[in-house]
């Protein structure tokens, strides 16, 4: 049976400027999927990029994953071949209250 793990990287934090989630180790996983939810009618514009890292300290945009816009109440995208760490980097105009899930399978 495959292993799976869901991490709640942000639980409803208010974002009003650029941000990055905490480093999360995923070397064991072969695939992952982000879910980003907008909570409580906050209207800030949000753009999200997947970032990867060799050491959990220095980060670079994942080469095959496009920037994602949060237009509705939730957006999702999948990533593969990400190495040892994943995080989301966000650009925010206005105020956005976000819940961010990372679902991994290996």
């Amino acid at each position: 049976m495959r292993h799976t793990q869901t991490a709640v990287l942000e639980r409803g934090e208010d974002f009003s400027s650029d941000f990055a989630t905490e480093p999360y180790e995923v070397a064991w996983a072969g695939e992952a999927r982000f879910f980003v939810q907008r909570l409580e009618d906050t209207t800030g514009e949000v753009e999200l990029r997947t970032q990867i890292s060799p050491d959990g300290i220095t980060w670079v945009d994942a080469e095959n994953t496009p920037t994602v816009r949060l237009d509705g109440t939730m957006v999702t995208w999948s990533v593969r071949e990400f190495g040892g760490w994943l995080r989301v980097s966000g650009t925010v105009s206005g105020l956005a209250r976000l819940r961010i899930y990372l679902v991994c399978k290996g």
Partner: protein
């Protein structure tokens, strides 16, 4: 704790010794859980405070809303790549944010089918996140100067805690707690084991208006003066820099019949905890009968991420 050997206990020990995964432990007669993190998180999950009837997480106590999800870590570092665990590749990692006072907590939730001795064993290590920069000031922290042996990273690690949350006998609730306070809040090396003299503030006490704590409050016991030492300074094997992993053996024995601590073993040191107080809540709790929770936490006293790594955990009982 030792018992007189019998043919049965000798055979049991021989069987344990023949198993490489179990021979490193000294379990009581019944093993409730053996968590080897090569195969997942085994029920160790993020602790969170309680929420209202609408699932509104804004109603979670501010100091209990961000204890961070545990990670399955390959113990990989910038200088040498993958270190790996004691056995295999993966360990369970608790990681704080890089904010002084932030705490990460992993909890495991069981109940009690009896009363008596309960023992938790683990192989653990603790590290601060490496600092990569160009500032000569990074060669000094908390009174530690880099001299090729001691590294300022060691003073950037705050504290690690192992604890329980136990309830029974009609709602009588208490915590047993042991914390390795590596540094004081002003980042001086302390290295003593400490316990809280008060019970942990609960979400019900917040709803009742008895407690309201800030985001970075120490959830186990918010007032630093409530933490009392029960050991002399005990130097562990941080091993100089933030990227070397040396696994330490921890064995912690409590008595749920007497509601008392018994002893704590760290490698070759055994600390008698029988006189370490266990504060009991004055009011009864509902919905928690036979509760038996264990948690590990890591708390940074610097603006550097702190990590607690667990290679494996074994929980055993004498009932």
């Amino acid at each position: 704790m030792s018992t007189s050997p019998t043919p049965a206990t000798d055979l049991r020990r021989a069987l344990l010794d023949a198993d490489p995964k179990l021979s490193r432990f000294n379990p009581l007669p019944r093993i409730l859980a053996h968590d080897d993190f090569q195969t997942g998180t085994h029920g160790w999950t993020e602790l969170i405070g309680n929420f209202d009837g609408n699932g509104n997480l804004r109603t979670v106590d501010d100091h209990m809303r961000d204890f961070r999800p545990p990670q399955l870590s390959s113990c990989t570092f910038f200088d040498t790549g993958t270190h790996g665990a004691l056995s295999g590749t993966y360990a369970l990692k608790l990681a704080t944010r890089p904010i002084a006072g932030h705490t990460a907590v992993g909890i495991r939730r069981l109940t009690m089918a009896g009363k008596g001795l309960v023992q938790l064993e683990t192989y653990f290590t603790y590290k601060s996140e490496a600092t990569l920069g160009k500032d000569p000031a990074n060669n000094s922290f908390g009174g530690v100067e880099w001299d090729g042996n001691l590294h300022p990273s060691e003073a950037q690690f705050g504290a690690l805690t192992v604890a329980t949350d136990i309830c029974g006998d009609g709602g009588t609730r208490y915590h047993t707690v042991a914390r390795y306070r590596n540094t004081t809040l002003d980042n001086a090396l302390d290295r003593r084991w400490v316990y809280p003299a008060v019970p942990e503030p609960t979400p019900r006490e917040h709803v009742q208006g008895k407690a309201s704590l800030a985001y970075l409050a120490d959830f186990t016991a918010p007032d630093p003066d409530d933490w009392k030492p029960f050991s002399d300074p005990m130097e562990l094997c941080y091993n100089e820099v933030p990227t070397k992993v040396n696994w330490h053996y921890l064995r912690w024995l409590i008595d749920t019949d007497a509601r008392k601590n018994v002893e704590l073993q760290i490698n070759d040191r055994i600390i008698d905890m029988r006189d370490v107080p266990v504060p009991v809540y004055e009011e009864k709790y509902e919905s928690l009968e036979t509760l038996l929770n264990f948690y590990f936490s890591v708390r940074t006293h610097s603006n550097v991420r702190n990590f607690l790594f667990l290679d494996s955990v074994l929980i055993s009982v004498d009932w």
